[in-house]
Symmetry: none
Subunit: 158 residues, 2 copies
DNA sequence: CACCCTCTGACCATCTTTGACTTTTGACTA
DNA sequence: TAGTCAAAAGTCAAAGATGGTCAGAGGGTG
């Protein structure tokens, strides 16, 4: 693996997968020690890899007996997935390629669309295709991702 | 071989051929060092020799743990259909919903995409989703349809 | 000679790593 | 109970590590 962040990401996902409950609780310092990095590296990994749109929820507590809890969000209804993603899209001030990718990957994981469809749409929403100023790009992405959600809603019986 | 670009091209193709998967991942700096050239030379080689038309797909990531990934893909046999559609897209001064639909229908007829995919994209490119001034809408549609063509060049056997 | 590739380097964009400083929390003490 | 302290975790900006772009110089070929 190329960088320590990826390694830590994989490790955490592995632990998460192996845990019965869909949540794990870690001690930041422990993880940092295990991978020989500074503690704040763990925050970086969490902030970039375990985001809401990817379907993770993170809680933590400081002080003695502190912890970081990572939870995989489990939504039972397709509707929930769509509406939570719509909320995220609405709330995010800037929609960059990374976020678009996260959302599309999530939709595929949740079996709301096929890999190939996601692939196509990703390219339509790429920086390359949307060769505009950042704000305009963000605007278009928001419009189109919301349009996508709308289609998926009735396509999956909403 | 007369120039360094050709040498690098051959080298990369050789490595690609020898790799089990039809993809390789390189570090720009490494290759540049091996051939004693500036890093941007690698970009030049990639931009001129590993294009989509020639059947290659290139992805990359910057920053720590960055890389350049080159993938061999199989081109779709109906390049002529794509070319003619691209011409149409280029030549039309205004791209309205009707034209988008025509293009998508054609692509489905030629079995270059599935009905459902066309449906999705049609919605993304609709007047409703692209709630903009006519010219801007037209601009976005052009960009995105061209992006679509680019993907379709190699899909189905990539 | 003109033109089209190549090559180069300065400058840019993006992602990661690090560390100093901050905030929160619980336990212990006065 | 209030205050203090140490043990977490959080924040943020700078530094580091890559890759990308672009315009101009350089060179070979018809």
């Amino acid at each position: 693996m190329r960088n320590i962040s990826d390694v830590i990401e994989q490790y955490l996902k592995q632990v998460l997968k192996e845990s019965q409950a869909n949540a794990i609780e870690i001690k930041r310092q422990d993880i940092a020690q295990r991978f020989e990095c500074v503690p704040s590296q763990i925050n970086y990994v969490i902030n970039t890899r375990f985001t809401v749109e990817k379907g993770y929820l993170v809680e933590s507590k400081r002080g003695g007996g502190g912890y970081i809890r990572i939870r995989r969000v489990i939504l039972h209804e397709k509707q929930d997935v769509l509406s939570s993603l719509m909320d995220i899209i609405h709330e995010h001030p800037r929609l960059n390629e990374q976020l678009v990718e996260n959302v599309l990957v999530r939709l595929v994981e949740e079996q709301m669309m096929h890999e190939q469809e996601a692939q196509l749409i990703y390219h339509l929403l790429s920086d390359e295709a949307l060769n505009l100023r950042v704000d305009d790009r963000s605007f278009i992405r928001r419009q189109q991702l919301l349009a996508l959600m709308k289609v998926l809603r009735y396509r999956n019986g909403g």
